[in-house]
């Protein structure tokens, strides 16, 4: 059962204005469009790293932001698994400590860790330094770190953009496994058409801060 997501917001950055008024019932919503279309700004607004001028952001029954009633949940209480384009793996922590950074302290953490490590085939890398990983490995560590925080939604910003063709083909199946095996909704930012066709079941096409098209097909 897909989780309803409401993204209804306006954001102004200098001369650039972003407007989106969408509600989805989909497992993976792709925000598709060229650089500068406003895709990352939307993700950052959902993560609480940017404050929209107006609007409503809801994940399931939970309101993260509502300008009208003054709701603005701080980032650490939003329960979003944000994987930014630059990944931002903590350079002073090894793979294990990065992956466990957002994990709780309950009894189920070990089981959850086993599941995520198996899903992303990360067990052999656990004691490695994150600065010594390849691009694909870094990407999987960032995904595992986000998943271990038990997010209500996964926000993936161009997760394959920094990878070359071969690596991209190797990492994409991991994203499909996350989509198919976990019940976490995803907002997936990309400007690669092929990728969006494979992963998303709803596509919002953005250009210059405006929604150009929104539907099940690209």
């Amino acid at each position: 059962m897909p989780t309803p997501i409401t993204l209804d917001l306006s954001l102004r950055q200098g001369d650039f204005t972003l407007e989106i008024r969408e509600r989805f019932d989909a497992r993976v919503v792709a925000l598709f469009g060229p650089s500068g279309a406003g895709k990352t700004s939307i993700l950052e607004s959902v993560a609480g790293l940017r404050t929209p001028e107006r609007g409503l952001i809801r994940i399931g029954a939970r309101t993260l932001f509502d300008a009208e009633v003054g709701t603005d949940i701080p980032p650490h209480d939003r329960r979003v698994g944000y994987v930014p384009q630059d990944l931002a793996l903590f350079p002073h922590l090894n793979v294990r400590r990065n992956v466990l950074y957002g994990a709780g302290a309950g009894d189920g953490v070990g089981q959850e860790l086993d599941r995520v490590l198996a899903l992303l085939e990360l067990r052999p890398l656990l004691d490695r330094d994150v600065t010594a990983l390849s691009g694909g490995e870094r990407q999987r560590v960032a995904l595992a770190r986000a998943l271990m925080a038990s997010p209500a939604v996964l926000l993936l910003d161009e997760p394959l953009a920094a990878l070359d063709g071969g690596l991209r083909a190797r990492v994409l199946p991991y994203l499909e496994r996350i989509r198919d095996e976990l019940t976490i909704p995803m907002v997936y930012v990309s400007h690669a058409e092929a990728e969006v066709r494979v992963i998303a079941d709803w596509v919002v096409v953005l250009d210059g801060g405006r929604v150009v098209r929104s539907g099940a097909e690209l």
Partner: protein
Amino acid sequence: MSDVISVASFTVAMAALATLVMLPPGVGVAWLLARRRFPGRAVLETLVSLPLVLPPVATGLILLKLIGRRGPVGAVLERFGIDLVFTWRAVVLAMAVMGLPLLVRAAREGFEQVDRRYEQIAATLGASPARVFFSVSLPLARRGVLAGALLGFSRALGEFGATILVAGALPSTRTIAVAIYSYTETGQEAAATTMLLVSATIAFGALMLSNRVAASAP
């Protein structure tokens, strides 16, 4: 010779204690100046740097007015049976106040060099602001903080003007700088020269270490 050893070890111990005393407020102020915009920020910045430009004796006089028995702080402490002036505690306080600006400057630079992205991502993973500080900001700024602590320690070792005003030149409060002054005043040139060499050696070592820490690779 035993006098030289006892004065030198007393000075090093007091400077080390002063460094421990200045670290929590110094690191806190450095982080505030690096990461927050708030009313009175410029005043705080100036206030912290004031001991760098004020004559040390003037700083000592301000401290004396504050911690003397009739001073606002001294009067309160006296009610609890704590006497500061002309004790080793006054030496520590004078050293801490004089070393603080150097610690704050280096630590602030350390915090400014930390990519905010790591702090933002830590927050989205559920880390409270305090946890973000202790698990991400502080470890990533550690070189600046450590270099600042060593600079503050070096400054504390050579402290004279403020120390002599609040702690005097008593046998129980005599630091290397005060001893050099006393020996020179009383014509004990050999003892003054020995003290000078000890002082220069310790300060040289601490400064070298501070520079190496600041320049070390992340």
